[in-house]
Subunit: 370 residues, 4 copies
């Protein structure tokens, strides 16, 4: 409840600050018997690593994960899995100037209001580096989902005003784009747009879209823990996210019932299917077996080097220019964070979904006895 | 975790189905000493009651709340507050036909997938009547907030394509509109739009907006329990909500950092203020002392009397026309539900916010001793 | 967390006071498909009902349970099950005198310290009547356990100084004893002992013992949620319980390792067995497949009609004699409460135990698909 | 819920195995502004460190704590505090033999039943080394309690048959005894007793007693989260604990109401006091302002070098002699673990206790505004 613990059965706890000793995460509730080593986690961290393109901060951070517990002979034991990513480069010189003022769009002011003082070095706990722990845990969640035949894919749906049209969307292209944009043309335009923003000492936002394939029907807990509600929380808890929608989302608010309802039909194999998926794979808070689709609106990076107005602790109105090496857009680096939060949440609710029916529980415990 | 329990310190549990004995809620964690009786709760329930305008279902339901525990001599005792609203009219005839098929846009199919069978009468647990318990608890939460100088106001921002322009928005007008729309002109247009949809056996969606005034800075728990994240979950857990945004929300994704950052300044009294509120009152997941603003996208009512295609349990593709008395739009009735979920969540996090600083904890316990 | 919510996946919430409208419980997380009606719950409530022997209070309370939700066509639906037991007899005259003073051994003083005032009628929320909700939920838990081949039996192991010798213990006799004592001779002695205490306006305590048969090995979560730890909490949360022990309990503290270790061996069928059960069926916080055994120490009823010294709110030291109809011992009525709390806890941890191994999770979801 | 996360508002998460990379703990919910560095934590770890007397294992472990996050300029920031204690000596040779059989009294068998396989090196996660994380967190909890004027003291009340008489009990003596026994004579006798057990390749158990001074009245949540119930869970979750009692505990079960009730009186300053403390400082699950007293029964160390009978995985009944360097008694090393678990739990419930009264909440938020 104090904020850094997440999940019910599959639980994660993150720790660490931008300029402290490092960042870490403990995963409690990972089932025993999953094959796991650092080589399965590192690629996820590499996807959020900075310094790889002109569109992210040129800071170099290796972000090497170290597995510290919960693994024996290459498999998870069911005990907590502790992972640490130590900070290599803790020089805090660049940040000493910001100790005394509040950066617009950042959490400096609200942290001071809540805690009375703050670790001002690089944003401290409110830094984007906090998401490293989520991604390391997300890699484990994705591995569990994969065992169950479920795939989570996130990508950049738009950057500023440039959006990928539905018909162009290609998951293959997303892997080739430096912005994880699933459309070559849109990506090129967005790259140009970002270089322009960079030149004017400005920044951009965008939309991350995430789809989940292979999800069984019947997952999600009605009323308060609806699957869409817990996914909304999961994604909105990522620093810069300002909106979340499922399926048609805000567009649904402008449509009529005739347009928005997804009809059911039996396919040739006698399986129930839907003729459309405006609902985004979730009805009544429970997965319906079709593709889950959600979107997260990400605000423009608040760190910009243009002149801004703000206040300092000496009761003065001042002008600032934030120096340092910042991301002109964080959307591409947020892609794997969205994917991670979705995967962690799905694992938790898949586990919870095992106790909804008495016949299946009986079957589970009888089977086990044999 | 099985879904009908909500909150951490201020906790609510709802029960009941559309056509069962009734609907109820237990509130655990309400502080002692709050003046409370049924007359403070009933007006909230009356706001979501059907049958009051041509724009909601003509079903008559009195929805009278009965307080069953946790009150002594007119004040809360700190013990759980149980409230029940008994169903007057449990005739299930209208619903027997739907036992065998799945209504598009409803949770019939997903409940069957999860639980193996379902209470098909009026949607059972997935009926909108489930929100009665939320609203009864929300009335208590609003009363607590009011003691702390905090006001929550929700209203209809749009119906289908008709939206209230920022400049026309008047909380006074919202109270006069049968659609809780804060603009007389927009309300009239929306009323006409809804009558048209009704005539074509169709339905409409819309957007509920909610503002919170008087909220102190420093509330919300960083990382996973950010105030915007928990509000997103709270609101997305309401049946028909498909999207949630805070402040500028999805619009922020299209803007630049220069446009989106809220500058700070000292006002003439030496208080820190922001020159704009694109953030919607929350930065880094913590309230900043300005107005909190959120928006919920509500899908069109799935119950429509036009012909629809679906499946039955006899493995047949069929056509249906859903009879009965349905809401052509649920947005106006959802307004008080959004308000309730926001209020319940704020109380929970205000309570949690009391332990963030050692000096205040010491002060609390020293004071108490005297 | 505010105290009246219990459990993780199988969750219960109780409400109600001794002299309010009634007592109730909501069970959230009961799997769908369990056959359930009031006739399965009432016998449990009847076991804790007062007025049945000279050894319990002569107050007459019918304590009829009403099922209000979560059941459809005779089976649980997976939705919350609300049960209410309305108080028939709310005349508060007998209690008006105690409004102004603190009864020794009762929670009057501590409730006032915590909440600032209290519902003083019959102990309000701290009354033993609060356990009615636990027993109603316990009946459901026992029904689930029974489906899984698990039986929970509690009985009175001792009353005051009179204890049942190990060699005499008979579950059949417990059913015949008005004190639920599993030994005819001990029961007779204890009955005489209690009549003597009653005559001297005094009261007695005792020990409830509980055994669980048929429990599968492997249940319980290591470290903080060890099965013995959560059972200890479950049982210690019952009003008058002052101590809990598992297996040999406090006796183990006086023994040596050679005496206390339970050796393993293969029985003739090749199953692993233990040659003794000093551990009480739990090692390392996880069930080992043998009988679980725990004991709860119950203090003497604090309500006695002898003269006692205490204080009133007028800053006076006073003498009181508590009138009214009290239990000379609550042990026999606590038996079914212990059984209920153990059953509720076991169901919760059996459900949790379904996610400890990846192979079983895969098997569960693959099976389900077919 | 998967077992390694503890607490509600003041939350801890432990990780690590006996022969893995190390042991660690993350504390989430520590208020900002507490002075904290490694020198405040190390003394607690040193108290449970082995190799200091003939009565504990001669293994040398330095157990140096490293603070990794949540501290800035010598004070806590309100962010998670990560602490790691790396294992120096991970040679696993001694343990390879136990991979194939189940040690009596250990969790080898139950871990295999739960997880399918286990980290058999030194007990893995079920090793007593797991408690290092609890003690590091306990040091922080004690520091918070100290700021609030609350002191927790645990000591060895008995070893095997040798018990400290009430009248001899001296907290000063406990510090001087190698067994943390608060009585010089009893300590000498217990030391001799232990050397005898050691000679016969045997081990001993005992009782740890814990008192809490300065605790305010009104702490604890009625019904399921009674203060005694949560303390029972806290203490019973320590590996070898088989019983817990509060105040007179099991003795109360043999007494009468007249003997057991604690009378109230006004002292000369007009404060309410109790003339005795049979209740151990808690009534109705809420602290009453007097000394809290609890006792934990600790079983004899299961690792003994005498011949024992057990089974191996080849379906054979075998005889074993457990070599290695074991504690003949773990009671003295458990003292600081009991103290830690009590302290952590008290902090959590003190924090929860801040929201029980509306007037205090209003006062808190109004004060804050000024």
């Amino acid at each position: 409840m104090p904020g850094s613990v997440y999940g019910n059965i599959f639980k994660i706890v993150t720790w660490g600050e931008s300029h402290g000793a490092g960042i870490g995460v403990v995963v409690d509730g990972c089932p025993a018997g999953l094959f796991l080593d650092e080589s399965m986690i590192q690629p996820y961290l590499d996807r959020r690593k900075p310094g790889q393109t002109p569109y992210t901060t040129p800071r170099k951070e290796e972000d090497k994960v170290i597995l510290q517990s919960g693994i024996f002979e290459g498999r998870t034991t069911g005990s907590p899995i502790s992972m640490a990513i130590y900070n290599e480069n803790q020089h805090s010189k660049d940040y000493s100037r910001i100790a005394n003022y509040y950066r617009p769009g950042h959490a400096d002011y609200t942290f001071d209001q809540k805690y009375g003082f703050r670790d001002y070095r690089g944003g401290g706990r409110s830094s984007g580096r906090e998401t490293i722990g989520r991604v390391a845990a997300g890699a484990i969640a994705c591995s569990i989902l994969s065992e169950l035949g479920i795939q989570v894919h996130a990508y950049t749906r738009s950057i500023g005003p440039i959006s990928v049209p539905e018909e162009n969307l290609s998951l293959e292209q997303a892997k080739l784009s430096p912005l994880y944009m699933p459309d070559r043309d849109a990506s090129k335009k967005a790259e140009a747009y970002l270089l322009d923003r960079k030149k004017e000492k400005n920044s951009a936002g965008g939309i991350v879209e995430c789809i989940v394939q292979g999800m069984p029907a019947g997952i999600g807990e009605p009323v308060f823990d609806k699957l869409d509600a817990v996914l909304a929380k999961a994604v909105m808890s990522i620093g810069a996210v300002k909106g979340v929608e499922i399926g048609d989302g805000f567009l649904a608010a402008t449509k009529t019932g005739i347009e928005n309802n997804d009809d059911f039909y039996y396919d040739s194999k006698g399986n129930i299917k839907k003729s459309s998926n405006h609902a985004g794979g979730i009805t009544g808070g429970i997965s319906d077996g079709s593709t889950i689709l959600l979107r997260a609106a990400i605000k423009p990076t608040p760190s910009i080097s243009s002149t801004q107005h703000t206040v300092n602790k000496n009761k003065e109105n001042i002008e600032i220019e934030i120096g340092g090496r910042h991301d002109p857009v964080i959307v591409p680096r947020a892609v794997v964070v969205v994917e991670s939060m979705v995967a962690i949440t799905l694992v938790d609710y898949l586990f919870m979904g095992m106790t909804s029916r008495m016949d299946r529980i009986k079957d589970f415990y009888h089977k086990k006895d044999k």
